[in-house]
Every structure is written in C-alpha cells, then in structure tokens.
Symmetry: C2
Subunit: 205 residues, 2 copies
Amino acid sequence: MEEESRSRNLLVDIYPLRCYYFSSKEAVPEKDDSVVDRIQRMRSNYAANGLRTCVEGVLLVELFQQPHLLLLQVKNSFFKLPGGRLRPGESDVEGLKRKLSSKLSRYNSSVNDDWEIGECLGMWWRSGFETLPFPYLPPSSRRPKECIKLFLIKLPMSRRFIVPKNAKLLAVPLCQIHDNCETYGPVIAGIPQLLSKFSFNIVQD
Amino acid sequence: MEEESRSRNLLVDIYPLRCYYFSSKEAVPEKDDSVVDRIQRMRSNYAANGLRTCVEGVLLVELFQQPHLLLLQVKNSFFKLPGGRLRPGESDVEGLKRKLSSKLSRYNSSVNDDWEIGECLGMWWRSGFETLPFPYLPPSSRRPKECIKLFLIKLPMSRRFIVPKNAKLLAVPLCQIHDNCETYGPVIAGIPQLLSKFSFNIVQD
C-alpha cells in the first residue's frame, strides 16, 4: 500500500506541445543593462531585505515522445526558467503563481491561481553576489545572499502562454539540457537529474 | 496546511558520525576480475533476466556541522553506494534491505528489516552494457540494459556498521562530491543536487 502511493506520486502527466497556444505581449524591459548593474541591484536589495529568495517553475510538455522543458530565452542569448524573486513575506506558492502569470500570462491577469504548483524539486544557494550557486549551503557561508527554489508545475491539458516580445519560450529536450552547464548554467543543467525519479505519462488527445 | 505538510517531508534528521560504530567482517570477493569480465557477466544476466535493476542507498551522517554521505571505497580506488542488483521479482524495498544488510551488517543477519527505506531520489539508465548512465531513458533506447535507483535511507540515532575487510566506509562532505564526476562518477556526483530540496536537522545527543 505504501509502495503503491509512492509510485502514484512519481507519475507525472504531460501533454503534447501542440495542445498549447502561444502568443506575445509587450516587451518587459530587463531590470539591468549590465552584470555590474545587476550586482549593484542585488547588493542594495540585500541591504534592504536580506536573503533574496527566487522561485522558478519547471514546466514540461511532450514532443517526439520525449519530455521537453519550457525555457525562456532572453535577447536571443541566455536561458531562464520562468519565475523570479519573492516579495518580503510572500509564500513560495503565492510568489511563484504571481511570477508565472507575469512571465507567461496577460500581465494584469487576475487568474494568478490558474497555476498548479507541485513539489519542490531542488534548491540552490549563492553565498556571494558574484559567486556560482551550489545545491547546498556552502560550509563557510554564514550569510547566504540568494536561495533559488525549483518547483514542478502541473500543466493542464491545454492553455495559452503569453510571452513578452523580448523573450522566446522554447521547448528543449531533457537530453540536450543534462549536464550542459555551458549553455544553460548549472541550475537548469541539473533539472534532468531532479526529474529522474519521475515517470512521465504522455497523454495523447 | 498543505504547505506545512510539504515542509515536514523535506526535513531530514541526521545524527553525528560519532553515534555510529564500525567494525569489519570477512572480505566479500569482487564478482569480476576485470571490466571485460564485468561486461560479459552483464550480457549473460541480461540474456537470462532482461533489464538489470540496481537499488542503492543514500546514507547521511553529520560531521563538522555538515551532512556527509557514506560511501564504500573498494580496493582503495573506486567509490560505490551500498546496494546492488534486485533478484527477479524482488521489490525495490526488499532488495535494498537485503543488499544493505549484506554490505553493512553481519552477512547472514536476520535483521534485514532493520533499515528504513525513504523516498526514491532519482533514477539513472544505461542503454548499453558499456555506455555511461543518464538520468533519463535516452530517446533512442528501446531496450535499456540497466536502471539504477537511489533511495534515501533514514538512519537511526545509533547503529553498528559491519563492513567487508576489502572495503572502507567513508563519510564524504557533499561539497566534495558535487559535480565531481571524475572521482565519484556521474551518479554519486549528482547526489548533492538530489538532496538539495531537503533541510537537514542535525540532532545532537
């Protein structure tokens, strides 16, 4: 019985890419013009609010019988998961719903709770403003600067994604992402491992 | 309420290394003298039984306020998680209890169920007898040869580990293992990521 309920939790329904619709909305300007600007912004936010917590969504679709991860590509260069920084006092789930709506729905959408937030898959920590993230709190780090939490998002059988004009939403197969830090960075490159305990049930319409 | 139960599942109690006792037992001979022998044995097992499923245990202790993973080092060279191959028809949990007892308890111990098997953390697949494992079933792989499943083991506050004389049981900090495929291979090197969603509660005696 216990084993049965274990396996049930490890089965994830995914739907073909063609079940989803894509359109665009006004560009959302990037907050920083340069890496230096970004670090400066992180420093002042840290001074004001302490540890920065980011929540990011892992959204999967089926293509060619394989699970694909939905990634935002910004300025035709770097890749991001949809998500962002929590406001002070905001819960992981509320913050992630707000961020998914702002990145993938109409901006002032009132249907924030149109997202089903699944389990936390992993967490990464940055001990300095300019350091790489690690999947643990580094032993010497007394005051971490950032925590990045990844959550599995359970997509419905169909929906419309509305993506800012300055970004693209791409479906990338797990085999291309695995261990490919150079292209995707360590957080995204590790997602196939974090998903490896699941079996995917491809639901055909 | 739902969030509360989520976070409870993500808290793992770990105990200081000094709570555990270590002794040795007769060497367990390695099954193969060479890589060629090993591949030959995997081929004949596959012909007889099909897909080989291995179950392996992730055992954690505290040292210097940090979680450490228990690894077996064989012949002073390569590192292994305690575990091994399921018998035909055997369940993951039964097989892993049997293997943990044979690697870390008295050999003919009747206390097989002295192990608390926690959740499945990840799975790796080998599509050929000589290929690297991947954390997904490779798209082209119709008949995978091996599946390796990792489970979190919940250790009691104290216990004795009895290790074969030709192996050593080492406690290695997660920060040394992360992304260190060269020393530990891809499966072990990915464990810090698979554990990253957990918070560790260090229980002092």
